[in-house]
Symmetry: C2
Subunit: 627 residues, 2 copies
Amino acid sequence: MPVVRFLPGDRLAEVPAGTLLHDAAVAAGIPDLDLPCGGQGTCGLCLVEIIGPENEAGLRLVPACQTRVRQDVTVRIPERQELAMQVVGDSHFLVSRELLPDPSRLSPLFRRVPLTVPPASLDEHYSDWLRLTRALARAGLPEPYTAGLDLLRTLAAALREQDGRVTVAVEEAEAGSRLLEVTPGHEAWRAFGLAVDIGTTTVAVQLADLTDGRVLGTATSYNLQIRRGADIISRIEYARTPERQAELRGLVLETVNGLVEELAAGAQVSRMEIRAAFLAGNTTMMHLLLGLPPQHIREAPYVPTVNPVPPLAAGDVGLEIHPDAVVRWAPGVGSYVGGDITAGLLSTDFQVTRDEVFLFMDIGTNGEIVIGNADWMIGCACSAGPAFEGSGIKCGMRAAPGAIEHLEIGETLESVTYKVIGGGMPAGICGSGLICLLGQLLLRGLVDPAGRLNMEQETDRLITAGQGRAFLLERAARTATGQDLVITEADIDNLIRTKAAIYSAGSLILQSVGLTWDRIARVYIAGGFGRYLNVADAVLIGMLPDLAPRRFRYIGNSALTGAYIALLSREHRRRLAGMASQLTYLDLSSNPQYMDSYVKAMFLPHTEVGQFPSVAQKLRGSNRPAG
Amino acid sequence: MPVVRFLPGDRLAEVPAGTLLHDAAVAAGIPDLDLPCGGQGTCGLCLVEIIGPENEAGLRLVPACQTRVRQDVTVRIPERQELAMQVVGDSHFLVSRELLPDPSRLSPLFRRVPLTVPPASLDEHYSDWLRLTRALARAGLPEPYTAGLDLLRTLAAALREQDGRVTVAVEEAEAGSRLLEVTPGHEAWRAFGLAVDIGTTTVAVQLADLTDGRVLGTATSYNLQIRRGADIISRIEYARTPERQAELRGLVLETVNGLVEELAAGAQVSRMEIRAAFLAGNTTMMHLLLGLPPQHIREAPYVPTVNPVPPLAAGDVGLEIHPDAVVRWAPGVGSYVGGDITAGLLSTDFQVTRDEVFLFMDIGTNGEIVIGNADWMIGCACSAGPAFEGSGIKCGMRAAPGAIEHLEIGETLESVTYKVIGGGMPAGICGSGLICLLGQLLLRGLVDPAGRLNMEQETDRLITAGQGRAFLLERAARTATGQDLVITEADIDNLIRTKAAIYSAGSLILQSVGLTWDRIARVYIAGGFGRYLNVADAVLIGMLPDLAPRRFRYIGNSALTGAYIALLSREHRRRLAGMASQLTYLDLSSNPQYMDSYVKAMFLPHTEVGQFPSVAQKLRGSNRPAG
């Protein structure tokens, strides 16, 4: 069998002739050869250099995902910039406090319930089990009750040690409650839970104290699956075989478990004390997390294997917490409106204003949009791409320390002031910074409505580099990476496509119910742009509709907030199930008007400038060249 | 530490000074040293012979359950007659056929359901899981549905292989259904279930085909726990420590698993194909089977740890069938009216005749009696003792091949004709034979109303042997054991105490609701007397009330029949739960009138002969001496 030698590192793999170079790299123990396109050969990001012997076609750079090994060969893997894997350590909610569960009335997925079980008497000689379960029913725990033998074996002694004063560990079952342990007395107890949002690009985990609902920490990182496809379609494409499904499962588990370990260590919590988890994520991510074949999601009629996901045990899922911890899932509506959206809706307050129509946008790698009120809801999904999460943008990064999250370009075009998360020198730009930057470039006439840089403007910041034309945000000497911080025309094009996908999806869904933008009383914007989103900037570039600023509400990672709420409150878990059954899915891909609407939105702010009257006025008043 | 040498077999055990000889025997690998009294030192059946050195008191025969090891000692264990461990191989029901579940409409605890799951469409793009569960709901399987990851991983492929034609393996959960496996196509399937009745003395197991309800075999044997106590109180007494609870658990599991292995081999069924079990048994037996401490059952206020028992997995229980097989339990009412009684009630047809009062008697080691109709039920328990199961009677045995089940004593007193189960020479007498024998002895004047043998009767069959006075049923040369087959005065006394306990309990319960015997329209008699019970004989000895024979119905091992019905029918499982909640428990032990009623019944047929007018008439017409 041919031997493949990989440089640098000099790793060897002996593989059958015909093996893909990428698979040989995996066999050689090189797991991090990125395949953002899922191995379709379209992104060019897995190019490797053939050192020798020369191949038939005389090529030296070949895509590892498409090139097969024929003979002994030496290959060099180019060095690439590492993904920013730092995390935002501080935690907070962007939703109003009254939406969060009342700490005095929590009903978490796992809890310990102090009870006083009355003793039996000759008149009421009910068994220990019956008296215990009656006390639980009086305490409001849902019936029926189940338990294992270990609990039954200790029950008689536990009930008699302190005159019936016991503490019962209870977890919520699909129906009813499962009793895990009965201990004598009313001791204080410790138990923790996870709220998890698994995004295509970003994974977020929150550690909560189940006794009082306190958030002990929030950690986020890129989904390690990015190496095998940047977006959902690429990742489904990659996951063709059971082996690759297992690989992708391993990668996202590595991501989640790494965050859990970090949070547990930071809060001085043993992972065995984590007894419950509530997960939200899009339908494909749930399939990949569970090792389920995802391909039917992208084949007509586009159905997932499982949605909603039935409750599972953490040990089966692969979460490295207490193996019996109950894992529950936000229910999705279809292949492209997943549990992340229903969980996100849970964190809005639209039920309070049921007479008004709301718009909910969750902008991640996919954009999902829901319009409705308390009585009806319609949702759709569009392929936004991960640009606002910092992926696919030359200097893009997640909202992590070192990210520029806000900036202004001075009227002279020379001064650029910016704000860096955590302070210090910038390492990149996060989503909110990119929206801000694009708005500023438009406002200052540095970019035209089609997204082309106006090189005639008099500033040294407009440069032509290896990647083509670009705007220089900060010089290498003043950045954390030691490289120029720029936005290229290709980046701008990417951002415009993303914002166009979002806006046109919203337009189309409104059209389908016969409404116009001005009927929207409240716009909820969720997504990983950063810690806040400047709505005026987002309206300026035509991503959000031109409505009065007071109608907008940025709710951040609403899927994570929703998962947190559902972890702690049975009432909200019921609401969540109700939302999923109430939400109707609208398929954009089969809608002929969508492409037309999308193309019209591929301008800054829009080809129909009448849809953005306030932006038109602002641009007229700015110092952009007349044109 | 002292070394104990056991003969015969020359087994050694080195044990700490102070260890009971019985525990040393267990440590030496001698498990079958019987302790019928539970180690209280009252029965003398664990006497062992001290070979040397002589002990301080100079005794050579000491009870192993009471004697402690002080120094090196050699002990001989006397040989004892082995318990009859054969089984009745044929299976049948003594209840009317229409009570048994309709084979075409079974809803067993485990089943495979053939379904055709409609494919998804662009209009109805529900997930595979949702379409599957909707099809299950249409097929009548109870919601909610749960499943493990293994099923989810194969679901998409299974649904698509044969256009949605799949077979789903489903087991009933505490609430809803657990889906275990989805396979393509509508193949024929095999799966089997167990109905189990765990009695204090006798364990009965029935193997049923879950596809059509056919009974493939029934096997019974003595509960191996008999070695550690013949009745419930002795066994609770023995089970003082966790180690002994574990030992008793091991013994009953050995009993049940032995029967299961035998049935599975006989029916050519793999034990892994046994996917469900429904168990009935008295409350103490359930505790000992599960390794639960039973002592609170016999301490005021007499409450068990668990009743009803929540569903468990076979692997946890220790049943050697499929480890995930669901094990469900007939619910009991109190410490002394257990799941065997509710299961037994399930096999009666009293709900059909709800205007009439019925009497249900289950006569095993304990006697349980229920009086009521479809609207109300009152139950009580009395310590009958295991005499009718053949235990504690010199030549008694279970209703197994070799047992005399019916007999007649000729008018000359010399000829005794009898019927042996399975034919051939007799090995002993089972319950129905004993009732018959006692009735014949009374009828022929061979025994007086107080239970004393009338040695003045002219027959060689009245003998005086080592055990005192006895009636010789068959000579050693014509028995399977090679020993004389006799009934002793001690045996007769034992039988009278048993029948008195039963009759007086029935009297008392009637008294408590202000009814008399003549109000009873139907008497159901359950118990392990044999394959049938001669009611006239049982009335003759005063065990059953003197009612018209047509009011009696012998239903055999009704607990086993009830477990079989519940194994196969969800409707009957619901009825069973309803019965348990409807049944009121009456405590005889705290009732001052019970002893009075019991003493009055300690005569043949009764001190108040007016309660048995037909018997009085029959005795007057018989050839018994005037008295």
